[in-house]
């Protein structure tokens, strides 16, 4: 049985044009029923199940078991906590629930740093499912969620179009789309948007990201490594090409996920909103990987600052917000993985936000004469863009190879 399973072909999510043909054919009946104001609940469950299976069969079969275990674990936590919350509201129980909810993710993030290989409980997409689950626990504590049906929760956690890399939806928002179906006119608008997003996604992922990431980047990396650890302009090339590839690849994927959700009548939130036109780093985080950055903003930054203000830990608001930024971004860095470059990446953005706030205050107080025109806006966008590019070079881990790697062997 297991050998049969591991020999099945594995479909990489949104990987090839064929995948889209299968997927669109499979969800066509859902679309037709939505057009007639109905949701085929059982059929949708089946489609979700089949495509989940196709993601994780073949060589990744152990991941499917890990996913199933994970879903049971999170459902138990959420159900137990909701039950408890109906009767009492102690902070210690809440923190315990959050801790348990985060535990699988923490284990798979720490394991590689400890034993040098991946944990067996990991699967593709675990981070995004964890964020959804933990967010649900937090909103339950706030009394915003009063009922969670087991099947509804699992449907939300393992929603197929957004399983592997988000966007990170929220339980209450997601449920609303199931309780209230879009009207025919609304649904047709969603379909029109979905088609638009799909084609934009094709352009981003299969043309731009493919050319940048699979064609151009390897050449530049090779050249840069050839001269490493000495600086050459190839390294600058790696920085820009890697960063743009990162954007087009991830934004392309996100567009697919949103488009398929729309076709299924679910308004999964967008992940990117023209990040490179940001005038400062704060604006950048309101436009880049938005569902992640808003998750961090709402569940870490705001809650930390709220508690610190209420309990009067720190009186100085500027100091407090700076600490909040650093904490927020360092946790985000660590989440990417426990390596020096991810942690430094987090620190860099944390400091970026601190300096950004300081600069805005300074400008307001002392530089009132500074004009607000196309030139100054252009400079602001240029500086922000290059700061971000530099941070992505760090994020790429290429510097690890460049400075400490086996470049001598390459020569």
């Amino acid at each position: 049985m297991t050998s049969f399973l591991t020999n099945l072909p594995n479909l990489k999510v949104y990987g090839t044009p064929t995948y889209f043909i299968y997927l669109l054919l499979a969800i066509l009946p859902l679309g037709i029923s939505l057009y007639y104001g109905k949701r085929l609940v059982k059929y949708e469950f089946l489609v979700n199940l089949v495509f989940l299976f196709l993601m994780f069969d073949g060589q990744s079969f152990p991941q499917l078991l890990a996913l199933l275990g994970f879903l049971c674990w999170q459902t138990l936590i959420v159900k137990f906590y909701l039950n408890y919350r109906r009767q009492a509201n102690q902070s210690s129980v809440f923190y315990l629930a959050v801790f348990l909810s985060l535990l699988p993710l923490v284990i798979i993030k720490v394991t590689p740093a400890l034993i040098g290989q991946n944990s067996i409980i990991g699967f593709l997409g675990i981070s995004y499912l964890t964020f959804r689950a933990t967010g649900t626990v937090i909103e339950t504590r706030d009394g915003m969620i009063q009922e969670i049906k087991t099947y509804h929760f699992i449907r939300f956690l393992a929603f197929m179009p957004a399983l592997t890399s988000g966007p990170i939806d929220r339980f209450r928002r997601f449920e609303k789309d199931y309780q209230q179906l879009p009207s025919r006119q609304e649904y047709l608008q969603m379909v029109a948007k979905a088609v638009n997003y799909l084609f934009l996604g094709f352009l981003y992922k299969f043309i731009l990201a493919y050319y940048l990431g699979s064609r151009l980047l390897p050449i530049l990396e090779k050249q840069a490594l050839f001269y490493s650890p000495h600086f050459t302009w190839y390294l600058v090339g790696v920085m820009y090409v890697y960063s743009l590839d990162l954007f087009f690849d991830f934004a392309g994927y996100s567009l697919f996920a949103v488009a398929i959700s729309y076709l299924m009548g679910v308004k999964t939130p967008m992940n990117f909103n023209q990040p490179f036109i940001s005038k400062n780093i704060k604006e950048f985080w309101n436009r880049w990987h938005m569902t992640l950055s808003f998750w961090f903003r709402d569940y870490i930054f705001m809650r930390f600052v709220f508690m610190a203000t209420k309990k009067k830990w720190i009186k100085n608001r500027h100091l407090l917000s700076s600490l909040g930024y650093l904490l927020n971004m360092l946790i985000m860095g660590c989440w990417h993985g426990l390596t020096w470059y991810y942690i430094l990446y987090g620190l860099m953005h944390g400091l970026g936000l601190v300096v950004n706030d300081w600069w805005l205050r300074y400008k307001k107080q002392h530089l009132k004469w500074l004009p607000h025109n196309k030139l100054t806006t252009g400079i602001a966008i240029f500086v922000t863009f290059n700061f971000v590019m530099l941070s992505f070079l760090l994020f790429s881990g290429f510097l690890n190879q460049f400075w400490f790697g086996s470049h001598i062997l390459n020569k």
Binding site: V305, F306, R317
Partner: protein, 81 residues
């Protein structure tokens, strides 16, 4: 002091602006214009709790519902009922 004046005063406090500057925002989107950020939002929520006794959990706070001075006043009226 009526509610709108009170809200303007609180907003001026939490954003370190003059009340005149807050008034000048009119019905502009306070978040989009960068006038309110997460930090100022938290201070707004804490102040509402301390001064008006209104409890708004952070996860209840939907930016779309609180993004202009008028909307903030309406939200407060709604919660005071």
């Amino acid at each position: 002091m009526d509610l709108e004046e009170k809200v303007i005063k609180i907003l001026a406090d939490v954003t370190a602006n003059d009340e005149a500057e807050v008034k000048a925002m009119g019905d502009q989107d306070l978040f989009k214009s960068g006038f309110l950020d997460s930090m100022a939002t938290v201070e707004l929520l804490v102040t509402l709790q301390d001064e008006l006794g209104i409890n708004v959990p952070v996860s209840e706070f939907d930016r779309q519902q609180w993004n202009t001075i008028t909307k903030i006043c309406n939200q407060i009226k709604e919660l005071q009922k």
